[in-house]
């Protein structure tokens, strides 16, 4: 009898979290990729503000509803704008941001090659 009781308690405790292990992983991954809009320099995952707590709950609910990671990002982008995503999308406003490192790299390479050939 005691054994059954303990078994029941363990079973109940294990069932408290309705997300599966991999779903918790995706939940955390999504939360880490989102900017906490009312905090500065923190992701939703790191923050304990009311906003972040609610947002984490929304993500959890959406995962349970069966939405994919991409769909959740799109949903939040629709509600809060692109700023909420840490990964900036390639568009007219951000092409400079994305291309500048490549340009600097190419320029540096050009300088090195020029020097190398001049020495020869």
């Amino acid at each position: 009898m005691k054994f059954i009781n303990i078994f029941l308690i363990v079973a109940i405790i294990l069932n408290f979290n309705f997300l599966k292990a991999d779903e918790i992983q995706t939940e955390n991954k999504i939360a880490k990729n989102l900017r906490c809009l009312i905090c500065q320099g923190q992701s939703v995952y790191d923050s304990d503000s009311e906003f972040a707590i609610s947002l984490k709950l929304v993500i959890k609910n959406k995962i349970q509803e069966g939405l994919s990671e991409e769909q959740i990002y799109n949903f939040l982008k629709m509600k809060y704008g692109e700023w909420i995503l840490y990964d900036p999308v390639f568009n007219r406003n951000t092409y400079f941001l994305w291309l500048l490192p490549i340009l600097i790299f190419l320029a540096g390479g050009a300088i090195i090659i020029k020097r190398f050939y001049y020495k020869k």
Binding site: I38, S54, V58
Partner: protein, 172 residues
């Protein structure tokens, strides 16, 4: 020739960096979203504040009426500031005020309304804050002006006298 050129470039680089950072000083680093979005009202199913009955958003928002959706909480200090303007807005019968009680304790919220007056026609309680995320809200206080099932204006933070005048101008 070469020694003249390098300092000039260095000074130029420093100048450019200085100008960029100096201009950046004046920018606000608080993100402000587009306040005039015409988005559909998100649907919600929430418990009523007074009793346990369920309130459905489709039954609240009807066409050809103005609604002022205000997210508030008794623990939020700026909400007290804006409360007098809400009371003022209540006098206008062209607009209905909907309170969105955000993550609040029932008794505290009740005494808040008792002390300062109840400007709301309908109050729903958002216990875990998930519905305000659906609205794209940041926190408390925040308000949305709704007309024909669309959010026509949003106010982040407490509303002031100017906002009140603007609202009255829109609904006239």
């Amino acid at each position: 020739m070469k020694s003249k050129f390098i300092p000039l470039i260095l000074i130029l680089i420093f100048l450019i960096t200085f100008v960029i950072f100096f201009k950046g000083l004046k920018n606000t680093n608080i993100y402000t979203p587009d306040a005039n979005l015409k988005i559909e009202v998100p649907s919600f199913k929430l418990k009523s504040f007074e009793n346990d009955s369920i309130v459905i958003s489709e039954k609240i928002f009807k066409d050809n009426d103005y609604y002022f959706m205000n997210i508030w909480a008794s623990w939020c200090i700026p909400c007290k500031e804006e409360h007098e303007f809400l009371m003022e807005l209540k006098k206008d019968d062209k607009i209905k005020l909907i309170g969105f009680n955000y993550k609040d304790n029932f008794n505290n919220a009740l005494s808040f309304l008792k002390d300062l007056g109840n400007p709301y026609d309908i109050i729903v309680s958002d216990k875990d804050g998930t519905s305000s995320i659906e609205w794209g809200a940041y926190g408390v206080p925040e308000s949305f002006l709704v007309y024909q099932n669309k959010i026509i204006k949003r106010f982040i933070g407490p509303i002031n006298n100017e906002d009140l005048l603007e609202i009255q101008k829109i609904i006239r």
